[in-house]
């Protein structure tokens, strides 16, 4: 099924794009990550211009997270107070990100920086997740589960911040500055990398803020939803690279995939799921590292003047 993309300026196989949407949708349904980290590189690999890929992927992630937010809010799994704080930070971050994006673009290093960010972020998080899920799996074989899941504590740095608030649903009494800063960082990443930032937000909420695991995925999706909406608007104004046809195709796939994903999440073992996600994340990090260290996809790149 050939589809002509009016903004990307080329014809693609619509079914391939929908299938890509399904794959990322499943990821978002199962793990509460937006899946943008998978969409953007694969779209670029398929021949879509990088800015169009990043902008349209942000639009797609919005759609994939909507149904997730609804599903989690029905189960009382969204801490709106915490979400509001991270979204506020995210808005600042997205605008900062747009600034950084322009600076790097005029310096001619935007693609290099994006690749380095991908490798560092995905490599670290994928590695951590793989180690943890492997340890848990080994632990459950020994029959010693439940020992280390005693009580999550937030990072000492978070405890030292002033002006504490009570976040009832997250079970926290911490300064809002922590989540605010986290929001800013995720906002910058979203703007730069065209990702929702869920793969970064979920572990940070768990291990740095120490939020109750029950509300982590829902709150992260809530944050992603609003930040990607903002990023789509910023792209529509600055790069004008949102391709509505491309985004529509991705959406058809990803909203379906997201629903399938939540079903899978209900019966699959979380340790197995996390191991799978870790493997996917690591594979992409390796692919990017190869392009950065061994052989770039293209030695020459063309920028319109």
């Amino acid at each position: 099924m050939d589809v002509y993309l009016p903004i990307a300026n080329l014809a693609v196989d619509g079914l391939v794009i929908v299938a890509l949407g399904v794959a990322t949708g499943i990821l978002s349904g199962v793990f509460g990550v937006g899946g943008g980290f998978l969409t953007t590189p694969l779209l670029i690999f398929y021949g879509i211009p990088p800015t169009v890929a990043a902008a349209s992927a942000a639009t797609q992630v919005t759609g994939a997270s909507v149904s997730g937010v609804f599903a989690h809010s029905r189960k009382d799994g969204v801490d709106y107070q915490m979400g509001a704080v991270t979204v506020a930070g995210g808005m600042v971050g997205a605008l900062l990100g747009a600034l950084i994006f322009n600076l790097l673009r005029s310096a001619g290093q935007i693609d290099v920086v994006i690749n380095v960010l991908y490798v560092l972020m995905l490599g670290t998080i994928g590695g951590l997740m793989a180690r943890e899920s492997l340890e848990t799996l080994r632990g459950s074989k020994d029959g010693s589960t439940g020992k280390r899941a005693a009580k999550r504590r937030h990072h000492p740095m978070i405890a030292s911040l002033p002006y504490r608030w009570r976040f009832y649903k997250s079970g926290l009494y911490i300064s809002p500055l922590g989540p605010l800063i986290l929001g800013v960082v995720v906002g910058i990443l979203t703007m730069l990398m065209g990702v929702g930032g869920g793969f970064f937000m979920v572990p940070a909420m768990l291990y740095i803020l120490g939020m109750s695991a029950k509300v982590v995925v829902g709150t992260s999706l809530f944050n992603i939803l609003f930040i990607t909406m903002l990023v789509t608007m910023v792209h529509a104004f600055t790069t004008r690279a949102v391709d509505i046809v491309l985004a529509g195709l991705l959406l058809i796939g990803s909203v379906t995939g997201a629903q399938l994903g939540t079903k899978i999440a209900n019966f699959a073992k979380p340790e197995h799921l996390r191991l799978v996600l870790a493997m996917i994340v690591l594979a992409i990090a390796l692919r990017m590292a190869f392009g950065l260290g061994v052989r770039p996809d293209e030695v020459y790149t063309v920028v319109p003047l």
Binding site: P6, I7, N9, L10, A236, R240, L251, Y300
Partner: protein
């Protein structure tokens, strides 16, 4: 085919009029003068055809070269270099006008037809493109950058060269098929046809192809550029609605 026949008829009727002049006359045409970028467009093949009429010496063996060029644009070309083990952008070169599309077909390899100087004057072939760099003047470096650009665009299907891509029948009629990929930009494309004899271009003619968006595709492009705010809102609205609708649908299942 009927178009081709009608064209030939017109040509024969016009012959006596041409007979006065000494120079051969080139009558080119293209199978279609418009390409619409829209749903279902996956590329096209243009047939460039025509005839070389030589009133003086009908036995002469001509060579024919056709060149199809897309609209030119100013670009910046960046080159990656490995620094401390990482490939980063280092050198760059600006070009004032680089054709967004270039395809050349010739009846024989270009250097068998003309010398290098002539090839460079008429920009016959990928090696002889005049890319008008505006920055560095080091010829070796310019050469490297030009080759990089040509190689990149060749792999994108935007630059191509077909040696022996022109078919000449009975020394008069010529035809060449030029494939157009789907990733071409909109604008005015110019087809130049050269009749070459004894290493000299003895006749040349141009014709045009307009490549443009229409209907839905044009609307989307204009909306994205002129009504950015509403376009962005629509994109956001669409994604929220589709996410919500899918949730409701699956809740029913």
């Amino acid at each position: 085919m009927t178009r081709l026949l009608a064209f030939l008829m017109a040509l024969l009727l016009a012959m006596p009029a041409f007979a006065q002049s000494e120079d051969p006359i080139l009558v080119p045409d293209i199978s279609q003068h418009e390409i619409v970028l829209q749903q279902g467009f996956t590329g096209a093949t243009l047939l460039l055809y025509g005839a070389v009429l030589d009133p003086a010496d009908s036995d002469a063996q001509y060579d024919v070269v056709v060149v199809l060029k897309g609209p030119s644009e100013p670009i910046l070309l960046r080159e990656k270099e490995r620094i401390f083990g990482i490939w980063v952008n280092s050198e760059e070169s600006a070009y004032r006008s680089v054709p967004s599309f270039y395809a050349m077909a010739s009846s024989r390899p270009v250097l068998d037809i003309v010398d290098e100087r002539t090839a460079a004057i008429y920009e016959l072939g990928l090696d002889y493109l005049q890319l008008s760099p505006s920055g560095s003047i080091d010829p070796a470096e310019q050469q490297r950058f030009s080759e990089g650009l040509v190689d990149l665009r060749q792999r994108q299907g935007l630059y191509a060269q077909y040696d022996e891509g022109v078919e000449i029948s009975q020394g008069v009629l010529y035809r060449a098929d030029i494939p157009i990929p789907s990733n071409v930009v909109a604008g005015r494309y110019v087809a130049e046809t050269f009749a070459i004899y004894d290493g000299r271009v003895i006749s040349s003619a141009t014709s045009e192809v307009q490549v443009f968006k229409e209907g839905f595709e044009l609307g989307v492009e204009e909306a994205a550029n002129d009504y950015s705010f509403f376009y962005g809102l629509f994109a956001v609205g669409l994604s929220v609605f589709m996410g919500w609708a899918a949730g409701r649908l699956f809740a029913l299942v």
